[in-house]
């Protein structure tokens, strides 16, 4: 028994050491300096755009007008701006910001497909999650990091204070990629768990293909799982932001010649000779798939952004998130 305990202690120590190493690699001093700078920039942005230091992004039944958006089935008729309707012949509803406490949940994809790219997609996703968590915690929001995948993952409690960022970074550094992506299950689980509407940010490559048992290979992917997941969260009133992270080689492949490709999520082998024609067809299929994802997000009023791992982390946060809904 004592020996078993000793072994468990040894395993823990090894895991801790690996986690420390990953943390040092992912979140080095440079990264932390960038976070500080990012936080200042975020504050400046918010001061310029919003009145208060801390305003919830939960638009709806508050006291203060925030924005317009197009009318959707189920919206309160009382919120319709009839003046605009008279002018434009289109239905828009008025949105108000409320001062209620905002919760941000970061759905982080930990499937095996995130383990590729240069830099690795998963590393970029973790850095992005850390940045968002840092910004959120500094804005006195509650931040939850929800890793998901087909393999079991650890959970982290909700972050409320800046002091909890250290443990958040440790947590992120200790995550590993494994298994298949099941975005629909992750969204359903989160939808069931959350009691109040929150901002849900999905950090994923959205590669979510299904492998039929009888064929043993991935069937053509579409956006069905994404649609199912978004539908469940939106039905619970959550605001959503989908950040699709893709490796540069996935967006603009340069492979040429004979290859044997191993699918990380399904462990299948594909032998093929890649030439310009096949690359063109690949890009065509990729565009169709990305357009499908974008269409699904648009249908549910979800902001959708994608970026390549080739873009530096800080640029990604500033250049893209600044244009996005979250920091607007």
């Amino acid at each position: 028994m004592a020996m078993t305990a000793s072994r468990q202690d040894g395993a823990k120590r090894a895991a801790t050491a690996a986690s420390d190493e990953a943390r040092a690699r992912l979140f080095d001093a440079g990264f932390l300096r960038k976070l500080e700078r990012l936080e200042l920039l975020a504050r400046k942005q918010m001061r310029g755009l919003l009145r208060g230091e801390h305003t919830s992004r939960s638009r709806g039944q508050g006291q203060e007008f925030a924005d317009f958006r197009r009318y959707q089935a189920g919206d309160d008729f009382r919120a319709i701006d009839w003046n605009i309707y008279q002018r434009l012949d289109r239905l828009f509803v008025r949105l108000y910001s409320s001062d209620q406490d905002l919760a941000v949940h970061l759905l982080l994809d930990c499937s095996a497909s995130m383990a590729v790219g240069d830099p690795v997609k998963f590393d970029q996703a973790r850095r992005l999650a850390a940045a968002l968590a840092y910004v959120g915690v500094n804005n006195l929001e509650r931040v939850g990091i929800e890793p998901f995948g087909n393999a079991p993952v650890r959970r982290l409690g909700t972050l409320r204070h800046r002091s909890q960022m250290i443990s958040a970074l440790d947590f992120l550094a200790g995550l590993e990629c494994a298994g298949r992506t099941r975005l629909d299950l992750a969204c359903r689980e989160l939808a069931v768990t959350l009691r109040k509407p929150a901002l849900v940010v999905v950090l994923s490559d959205l590669i979510d293909s299904v492998v039929p048992e009888h064929e043993g290979r991935a069937e053509p992917a579409d956006s069905t799982r994404l649609e199912q997941g978004l539908k469940m969260l939106r039905a619970r009133g959550h605001e959503l932001l989908v950040l699709q992270i893709l490796a540069e080689e996935e967006i603009a492949p340069t492979l040429d010649g004979a290859y044997e490709l191993r699918d990380l999520e399904h462990d299948g082998l594909l032998k093929l000779s890649i030439d310009a024609d096949l690359r063109a067809r690949y890009l065509q299929r990729l565009e169709q798939w990305l357009a499908g994802n974008e269409a699904v997000c648009a249908r549910f009023g979800v902001d959708y952004m994608r970026f390549s791992t080739a873009i530096p982390f800080e640029d990604m946060v500033l250049r893209y998130l600044r244009q996005g809904w979250h920091l607007r």
């Binding site: 004979a258 990380l264 024609d277 690949y282 065509q284």
Partner: protein, 630 residues
């Protein structure tokens, strides 16, 4: 059973190692991990649904391979670029080396003048042109292959000698024209004295004739021979034919000697362009080397002498075991050069008796055994033969005869035999060993049989109980049978050949070397080929060797076992001895030939092979050169 109509097609198997090498050199697929393969799978599936050929042709690597395959196929088909070119400088120089070229012209011989002209042509040729040299004697002879190096050509010419052969220009020119076939613009030049009969076909040939001729009165021995007279081995006749090829009458002293013994000497007067044949009988032993000479200074000395070798005659030794048969003894006596010994079988001496005779005749007597040798059985059956006595039959008539040379021309129709041995064959008979010569309704009457060591002629009845001995067919059959039994012991004719003619030399089987000494005292070692070493049916084994280096007139000698043998070679060609240029050949440069435009064929396969290599390298680069590892 599998057979191959064209076994050379199996050479295609050589492509197997090439394919193996190419396969080994081919880069392996690079293994990579991918976040997902579904997009690639969809792209692949979409491409598979596209137009097949178009899809294939969009792959530059495949296109290159296809072009390489086509180029390789073309290369294997050996394509040639056919074009029209001007004349090349290639030449075939045919030099007449026949006996008439020995005749003098100005300060040299015709041959020397011809060689000088040939040498000038060789030295004056262009550097890239090639020359082929052919000597035209009784047979055309290539002095080498097409050669562009003047020094080598000069060395070839230096080894060329004029011969005593009669020329055959048509054969030489046919060979020369066949050699220029496929060499556009190549020309044939013939350097000759034109001392051969006019041949219209030669004038039509695309040949430039260079005639070196001049007046050359000549008197020649056109024929010389010695023959034995059939009546007696001591009597013989000498035949000499003298021809005057000059345009004026000549008086010629003619003499003949046999082993330095003068046979005759007389003066012969010959009109212009006439001949005379002398036949003179003589008595004595005609064996040895005989010479005939005419004592005259003319243009061609080599036909002023002729030789004949008369082989020493060894009598045929016949041993006759008989109780007395006058017909048989008379028949043996009638054969030339035969010594017959009548004896009885003494068993203790029998083997020795047989070994010391060329032919053993059993007349009504059957021997205890049949050692190696030659035998004639009359009214007796040989032991160990494939046929055996089965009884006796009476009053037989000949009903048929076989196709053997022993009975081919015999008239034995209605031949009656009062009593004959009845024989039957033992088992199956090999037709090339036993031949039925003639037969009655009930039994073979005459047979021939041979094996590796014995030859036997069998006559199944006594000559006294048949009318065979009284017929004209009997001496013919008897003579033919004796010759078949002892071919080498038969009297040989005089041994002499014409220059250039092939001499067939018979050697004992155990002789491993043959050296022939020529009239100019050169020792020529004659290779004994495998075929020459094949044993002849006769024992001991004999081999036949062909000797064809008989370009010089004179006496040749060699060893047959331990016996020295001679044979004589003479020009003996009236046409060749006539040195006047009568071929009516056009001079070089005076005749225009309708020569078709020269076709030049340039093989393209080396270029195609290079293209294949280049394409494969390019394909290789496309395949493995632009690799990107993600």
């Amino acid at each position: 059973m599998i057979s191959f109509a064209d076994p050379s097609g199996l050479l295609a198997l050589l492509s197997v190692p090439v394919l193996l090498v190419l396969f080994c050199l081919r880069p392996m697929r690079r293994r990579m991990v991918s976040s997902t393969t579904f997009l690639w799978r969809e792209a692949l599936a979409e491409r598979r649904h596209g137009p097949g050929l178009g899809r294939l042709l969009r792959d530059p690597s495949l296109l290159l391979l296809l072009v390489a395959a086509v180029a390789l196929s073309l290369a294997l088909a050996d394509p040639r670029w056919v074009g029209m070119t001007g004349r090349s400088g290639d030449q075939v120089l045919v030099i007449d080396v026949s006996a008439s070229m020995r005749s003098p012209l100005r300060d040299a011989t015709r041959f020397e003048l011809a060689m000088a002209e040939v040498a000038r042509r060789v030295q004056g040729k262009s550097a890239d042109s090639q020359v082929l040299l052919i000597a035209s004697g009784s047979r055309p002879r290539l002095l080498g292959g097409f050669e562009s190096d003047p020094e080598r050509l000069t060395r070839m010419l230096a080894e060329l000698r004029v011969t005593d052969e009669a020329g055959d220009p048509r054969a030489a020119l046919s060979l020369a024209l066949s050699m220029v076939n496929g060499r556009p613009g190549a020309r044939v030049h013939f350097f000759t004295d034109g001392a051969f009969d006019a041949d219209p076909a030669l004038r039509a040939l695309a040949v430039e004739f260079h005639t070196i001729a001049g007046p050359a009165p000549n008197v020649a021995i056109g024929g010389f021979d010695i023959r034995r007279r059939y009546a007696s081995s001591e009597q013989f006749e000498v035949m000499v034919r003298i021809s005057n090829h000059a345009d004026e009458r000549v008086e010629v002293p003619v003499s003949a000697t046999l082993e330095e013994v003068e046979l005759f000497q007389r003066e012969v007067s010959l009109e212009a362009r006439s001949s005379e044949t002398l036949v003179l009988p003589f008595q004595g032993d005609p064996s040895g080397v005989a010479h005939a000479r005419i004592d005259i200074e003319d243009a061609l000395p080599s036909d002023n002498v002729a030789q004949v070798v008369m082989p020493a005659q060894r009598p045929l030794r016949v041993l006759l075991f008989s109780s007395g048969n006058s017909v048989l003894q008379q028949a043996l006596l009638a054969l030339p050069a035969v010594t017959t010994r009548l004896s009885e079988i003494v068993e203790s001496l029998y083997a020795n008796q047989v070994a010391h005779h060329d032919l053993v005749v059993f007349d009504g007597v059957e021997p205890p055994s049949l050692p190696p040798g030659r035998y004639l059985f009359i009214d007796a059956v040989p032991p160990d033969a494939p046929f055996e006595r089965t009884g006796r039959v009476l009053d037989q008539a000949v009903e048929g005869r076989g196709r053997s040379a022993l009975v081919r021309d015999l008239d034995i129709t209605g031949l009656k035999v009062a009593s004959a041995i009845r024989v039957g064959f033992r088992g199956e008979v090999e037709p090339d060993r036993v031949q039925n010569l003639f037969w009655s309704a009930q039994t073979p009457l005459a047979l021939s049989w041979l094996d590796e060591q014995r030859r036997v002629v069998y006559l199944g009845f006594d000559l006294g109980v048949s009318d065979f001995a009284t017929r004209a067919a009997f001496p013919l059959w008897f003579h033919a049978s004796v010759r078949w039994l002892q071919p080498l012991a038969a009297p040989e004719p005089a041994t002499h050949l014409r220059t250039g003619q092939r001499k067939r030399i018979l050697l004992p089987g155990e002789q491993q070397r043959l050296i022939v000494v020529t009239p100019d005292q050169r020792y020529l070692r004659v290779p004994l080929t495998r075929d020459d070493k094949a044993p002849a049916p006769r024992q001991p084994a004999w081999r036949e060797v062909d000797f064809d280096q008989t370009a010089l007139a004179g006496v040749y000698r060699y060893f047959e076992g331990e016996d020295r043998r001679y044979f004589a070679v003479n020009l003996s060609d009236e046409s060749e001895s006539d040195l006047s240029s009568r071929a009516e050949l056009p001079e070089a440069g005076t005749q225009t030939y309708e020569q078709p435009p020269a076709r030049s064929e340039t093989p393209l396969w080396p270029w195609l092979a290079g293209l294949v290599a280049l394409l494969l390298l390019l394909e290789w680069w496309l395949w493995g050169g632009r690799r990107v590892v993600a």
